[in-house]
Symmetry: C2
Subunit: 360 residues, 2 copies
């Protein structure tokens, strides 16, 4: 049996303790500075207050100041924070991981610099670690359609462990696999990380249809707006695939769990969809951000801002065509420039190789 330490005690990090402990592994769950109440609750009663579930006996909870104790000598060191905490998490892990450990991250997404160069978040994590240590551990990440609570109550969940080292992926997958947690492995690290970022981006667009229904007073009417949502989903899929290829990933990753599967589950609801619904209803995004959803963590919106801001420099540099990524460009205009929602239908489905022709 192995020992696993997880930095972060949010719902996803904690959900992952269920398959691990079901398999007899020992898990040390370390809260961030934002998780103090969660850790206290688990230490006192075993209850994770946000999941509303009791963790297994094999889970020990630690406050952040005890992180060094928790991580000492573990087989697997996990980053369980979301994309907003990636820099902080990297800095923490720099002092916690040791040679020979397998690093496994649930932190997903991309960052961009001023020239539009995009970096997947596992690389951001690595950038905080001493180079000699980086090469003495292995780097992997969990992606795919996984609502944390569903996993925590042991509902069937199928994911991909992606990373650089197949042997580590195989070992990690073996540690986590149960009859309800179905794990595939992939060395297409980039493709899967791009998918993880892009699915959050298009989840925002998935809210537009409901917003239009609200705006037009169509609630309860016989005909919804699924055709509209399906068209955005399909364009999102083509743009995701194109982005995977652009960054050097395998475009075929878009068709599986880490692509369309993850986009499907993320489109079914959640905070990004809710934010998109406000925009669909005609609310300028700045008002959504500053009033209706003030203080709410919106990973999709953050991803639109980061990835979207890369499109102009990438276009200027000739890396992409001006007509590429029309939906993502519009989403960026909505959140960065308060543009009103106006779907650029005629520019859809023009990705290179798409076997369709649009309006002349």
């Amino acid at each position: 049996m192995a020992t696993v330490a997880i930095l972060g005690a949010g719902i996803m990090a904690t959900a992952l303790t269920f398959p691990l402990t079901d398999n007899g592994h020992e898990v040390r769950l370390v809260g961030t500075h934002l998780d103090r109440d969660i850790i206290e609750s688990i230490q006192q009663s075993g209850l994770h207050p946000d999941l509303d579930l009791t963790v297994a006996d094999g889970v020990t909870a630690y406050q952040l100041e005890d992180a060094a104790t928790a991580f000492q000598g573990v087989d697997v060191a996990m980053s369980g924070v979301n994309s907003f905490g990636v820099h902080w998490a990297g800095e923490q892990l720099a002092g916690l991981i040791e040679p020979g450990m397998k690093v496994l991250s649930i932190t997903k997404g991309m960052e961009t610099d001023d020239e539009g160069n995009l970096t997947i978040l596992p690389e951001v994590l690595k950038s905080k670690i001493a180079p000699e240590l980086v090469s003495q551990v292995t780097w992997s990440a969990i992606v795919g359609p996984s609502i944390a609570g569903e996993l925590a109550v042991r509902h069937d969940t199928a994911v991909v462990f992606c990373g650089e080292d197949q042997a580590s992926l195989d070992e990690l997958a073996q540690m986590f696999r149960t009859d309800y947690y179905h794990v595939w492995t992939s060395t297409d690290f980039i493709g899967h990380e791009v998918g993880a970022a892009m699915k959050n981006i298009y989840a925002f667009a998935a809210g537009f249809a409901q917003g239009l229904i609200d705006k037009n007073g169509e609630q309860g009417q016989r005909y919804g707006r699924f055709n509209y949502g399906a068209a955005l989903f399909a364009e999102g899929q083509t743009e995701m695939e194109q982005f995977m290829e652009l960054l050097g990933g395998d475009p075929r990753t878009a068709r599986g769990l880490g692509g369309v599967g993850d986009m499907f589950v993320t489109s079914m609801g959640g905070r990004n969809v809710r934010a998109g619904a406000y925009v669909g209803a005609g609310v300028p995004f700045s008002e959504v951000r500053d009033q209706h959803m003030k203080g709410v963590t919106l990973e999709g919106v953050a991803a639109i801002r980061k990835v979207g801001s890369a499109l102009a420099p990438l276009t200027d540099r000739g890396v992409i065509r001006p007509e590429d990524f029309p939906l993502l460009r519009h989403l960026y205009a909505i959140i960065a420039e308060d543009a009103p929602l106006e779907i650029p239908w005629d520019s859809f489905f023009t990705a290179p190789g798409m076997p369709v022709t649009g309006r002349p």
Copy 2:
């Protein structure tokens, strides 16, 4: 302005009259023997009783015995019946179409023979027509995510007109395009027809999650089964893409409106999803068919039976591997052999070229 005759007065055929008449075209809507009441209602009051909408002034309704009058001299001859009526529709059209017409079909899907050879339904239509006439008309079809009622109330709808002749596709698309009906064209006839059949197949699987929730008394509980649905959706997508390629279509069609877009909208609800929910709840399919949904048209189930029955001969002939299409094989076992639902998770995502590895 053009004249269009449509054989069939169901909700999809009738929904298509809205963009046509909005563009000033004349439409002659011809009921089948099953549509007598619909035609009578439209003739008397303009009301389509199933859509619960009044058709435009530019639509004239004809009973079947007046079909020859309706089709005489039209520019476009449409088949507006569903896949169950394709042989009948072909036989009717054989006597109605004239050289120079553009034939446009909404009849979608595939048929199979005993050796597992699959034929797209437009070919079945053609097979009923005299060969010299077949070559004197052009053949096209409408595919993509389109709930009829949403189109009829002029909600944004994005589709693909696919066919053999690009010039005809351009003309047809131009006739139908409005500010709410967004039309792309494609000469990947096979890929799009395969997508149209496969999306109905996987819609049946989209009902399983709800059935499991019902069976386990999880209604109203905090955590649903979206992870499960997303995994089936992703596997469906990989199988759809593989099938397109197998039959000589363009696998890239799977990523757009005629693939994932159509599968998305079809998964959101409808009769096939409802049938799948019964199976998810543990009801043998024969009982669903003979009791709970007796007499209900299930195009998805019919497609599973047709396409699924081709898998064994195709495997025997070495055209596909035994491990190909695991979800479709299981769906076939459910509807043809009353197999209980048991998702073969470990065989998923093994399509050739998929950049993931499963359980060893």
